[in-house]
């Protein structure tokens, strides 16, 4: 989903797809009405989004020593 141009309908499709529900089902309509007016849900989804971002940004770089040990282990030294 394009984050900049996400519409409510796309969000609903996404949530309802995960629930296996049709977009026009009573369950999805009730979810949409709730989401539109619920600060609690918006805060919750923001913290889930942050959780994912934290782990995305946490990268580890391979050290030069680990690279050498790898090439040595594989018999592919320069």
């Amino acid at each position: 989903m394009d984050k900049q141009n996400t519409t409510c309908k796309q969000v609903m499709h996404y949530i309802c797809d995960n629930l296996g529900e049709d977009i026009d089902s009573p369950k999805c309509i009730a979810i949409k009405e709730h989401l539109n007016n619920c600060g609690n849900c918006q805060t919750y989804f923001k913290s889930v989004d942050y959780t994912i971002m934290f782990y995305k940004k946490y990268d580890v770089k391979i050290s030069e020593e680990a690279h050498k040990r790898l090439m040595n282990h594989l018999g592919l030294e320069d």
Binding site: N40, S47, K56, K57, A66, L70, L74, L76
Partner: protein, 187 residues
């Protein structure tokens, strides 16, 4: 030279091409292995075993999937094997969806994700939280949300059905969010 050509050369026993493939993917494999193992020594061991498997089986690589997908599969299997061997018990129950979302604990967080790159204390908190997840949940979360693979690709790598991937992803997200919430919420 394109990756396809390098793989073909490697399949014909070209040592230089094999070396080139290892160099192209060592950072991806090490990073992914670290994200699953959460330990530098284990990540390095997994990376070495993954490339050893790649060299042994490169002639069988058909090109139907991406080489990166093939490598993710080897890393995932290796990590699951190590986890089974360690016989570590995971005490958290992931069967009760209601217990994973506690309405009373919803609050704004006082930290933003861009701080993670330079903050070791924050990294420790993230490591401790994800280590509590069973390995299959950790792998699904990392493949889908962190590495950005599709549900289908994640299912193929982990040998899980699409509903099983979705259910593990939902539970892993909710669990990690709850673990971090205890530290990051205001007040």
């Amino acid at each position: 030279m394109t990756e396809e050509k390098i793989i073909l050369e490697a399949q014909n026993g070209n040592r230089q091409a094999l070396s080139e493939l290892v160099k192209m993917y060592e950072q991806t494999v090490y990073n992914f292995a670290y994200k699953i193992c959460r330990d530098r020594d284990r990540a390095e061991h997994t990376m070495q075993e993954t490339f050893m498997s790649m060299i042994r089986s490169i002639s069988q690589f058909s090109g139907k999937s991406k080489l990166s997908t093939w490598l993710y599969t080897i890393v995932s299997n290796h990590c699951l094997m190590m986890a089974r061997a360690s016989k570590k018990k995971f005490h958290t129950s992931f069967d009760d969806d209601d217990a994973l979302i506690d309405e009373k604990s919803i609050a704004n967080w006082n930290v933003t994700p861009d701080r993670v790159t330079e903050n070791n204390e924050l990294k420790e908190i993230l490591d401790e939280a994800i280590k509590k997840l069973p390995p299959d949940y950790r792998i699904v979360f990392t493949l889908r949300d962190v590495e950005g693979l599709s549900t289908e690709e994640t299912g193929n790598i982990t040998n899980l059905s699409i509903p099983a991937v979705k259910s593990r992803l939902h539970r892993a997200r909710a669990f990690l969010r709850n673990e971090l919430n205890e530290t990051f919420q205001n007040g």
